[in-house]
Symmetry: C2
Subunit: 162 residues, 2 copies
Amino acid sequence: MNSFLKISISLITLLFFGCQSTTQEKDISTSSELIFPKGNQLESENFKGNVWFIPLIENDSLNQNAVGSVTFEPGARTHWHYHPGGQILLAIKGIGYYQEKGSPRRKLQKGDAVKCPPNTPHWHGASPEGEFVQVAITGRADGPTVWLEPVSEAEYNGLTKH
Amino acid sequence: MNSFLKISISLITLLFFGCQSTTQEKDISTSSELIFPKGNQLESENFKGNVWFIPLIENDSLNQNAVGSVTFEPGARTHWHYHPGGQILLAIKGIGYYQEKGSPRRKLQKGDAVKCPPNTPHWHGASPEGEFVQVAITGRADGPTVWLEPVSEAEYNGLTKH
């Protein structure tokens, strides 16, 4: 009975650590989901909360689109703003929010794509629950982003159509 | 001794299926790395091998960029072609190849971004080792894609600058 106990304890230990090891592999696999580097933290008065940005493609005379990846910490968001050349957003990770002036706030999740027309005020950011990563494709032909007022707490919380 | 054997077999079974179950969870986690749906298989004479496409953003009069996710099976590739409005590619998963006419073949991996100028013949596709997923941002203002000849095996294998 003594050897029975020993073997049982060994098997239980093996079961525990065997599965532990697999779980660790899973964690590594999860961290590799990051596609683009996080880049540098933005120092800008036009955002609330911590936001990181990495440029992926600069606009030039032949292609006026600038492409970059933006990472919002939970609760971080842009101010209201518009792009004279319009913008396309691709949600890469997490749950985010997007709102155009006059429309309800929308939830964005991994795989969602949004087209924001030129000169249309809007804001975007992360939900309070987790980091949100988006790729932004911004038309630069007609001028730079125009920044407006901060997003109110009521707007952020989806309590107003603005 | 009979009950010892029974319990040991139970524990070994638990060890096996317990870890199996964790491995299955890992598989689900891996498959959840897919950001955009694979979409539909392309029926086109302008590709070699199996390719899937899902449109994410259609171009319109206000924003002439079309955005879509393309999945190439291992070894699949486009024919040579060019875009009158140019193209931006974002590598999302796997190892791919990209070549512009007159330049060496480049390797693309997750996180890479490529800007292909307007009217510049090029091809892209998956390496032989695994599936390659890319997001394509294509300017449609100046007309549709112009398709050219197939990519030769020497070109695909990086043996020529074309």
